[in-house]
Symmetry: C2
Subunit: 211 residues, 2 copies
């Protein structure tokens, strides 16, 4: 019993064929949304990019919306995995290190795609409906990941949620702005400012707890 010659591709199961196809499509969708935006991510360019035909695409996704929903779930997943990984890499991250991780995450394609989907959701009720559950889960997992940062234990769920959301908005806006008119000096100062503020908040909590 020998393996088939390497020139002839080995037999793949239907499930394998299916999964590679879906992965290629989602990868291409992520790349295209990041480069061209949600509205310009047409099935034509996604198919071209992924090397999958239109027919092949519709075999696995019933509509463009379905593809976008699946893509949202995937970028959300990757975002969380990467964020936890980066935070775990530096065992005891300082505040500014953790903030830098967060900022870098928000500059990555995954988060840019998520942002594009959120902005599109505002004016596309179908997309908004379909993404609502994914979104809730995603936001919850973000806050959960934020628990890995020292000092986070001082804040209740609601406060931490609000803090993290505020930072997300700031870094999202910065990520967009820097692709229009970059300002690295201000970016660095902003990071330091936020770090100082976070330390201020932590100090205040500690003092309050002491009394």
């Amino acid at each position: 019993m020998v393996e088939p010659a390497p020139t002839v591709p080995r037999r793949r199961t239907q499930q394998e064929r299916r999964e590679t196809m879906i992965n290629r499509l989602i990868d291409a969708t992520i790349a295209v949304i990041a480069e061209a935006g949600y509205a310009n991510a047409s099935l034509g360019v996604i198919c071209e990019r992924s090397g999958v035909s239109r027919g092949g695409l519709f075999r696995h996704f019933d509509s463009r919306l379905d593809l976008m929903v699946a893509t949202a779930a995937e970028v959300g997943r990757r975002h969380i995995v990467a964020a936890r990984q980066r935070l775990a890499d530096l065992r005891e991250p300082t505040l500014i290190e953790a903030l830098r991780v967060m900022r870098n995450r928000h500059r990555d394609v995954e988060n840019v795609v998520w942002f594009e989907l959120m902005v599109a959701s505002r004016t596309d009720s179908d997309l908004r409906t379909r993404l609502s559950e994914t979104g809730r889960q995603f936001f919850a997992e973000i806050v959960e990941a934020a628990r890995l940062v020292p000092g986070a234990e001082l804040f209740g769920e609601e406060d931490l949620d609000m803090l993290v959301t505020s930072l997300e908005h700031m870094f999202d806006g910065e990520a967009i702005r820097r692709e229009i008119s970059p300002d690295p000096v201000a970016e660095e100062r902003r990071l330091e400012l936020v770090a100082e503020f976070a330390e201020f908040l932590i100090m205040r909590r500690l003092n309050a707890a002491q009394e």
Copy 2:
């Protein structure tokens, strides 16, 4: 000499005809972008909304891009005018009042349209190029308007710019998020938090100046 009967519209100059036409088109464009987003603001719906024909539109704007650029200039103008007005209304605004003004501004149609245009700019190089000058001017005027807030005099141009930009990003993000999944409690807490932080910054500046 009598005025013509009111049933017969009075004679208008060519310039008047032109200006009312342009105003109607830009007003409609603002409304449509705010409701449907930049990508879905097609000339068809803009014409329908404004009551102007396609031919009429192209008499005054050579392309959709030109219309969008003109719209950007107009929303920028209105945003600044309104912001200055609101700040002037309360003579000596407290920090939290000023922040509330800013937040309300960012929830208004004008700023939503500006935001849509900025997000679209990221992936549309033509739009980005055409809006770069308008954008620079706009950002500068925002920072200038921020000088009306007591405490602003403590900060240099660059620092104030960075602070205001950070707040803009936060409020922009919040304005989008609240149309997807509103959270009024967190919004209020966020405003208070930011006010506290601003006070913290001002205090630190004052102490630093004292030494």
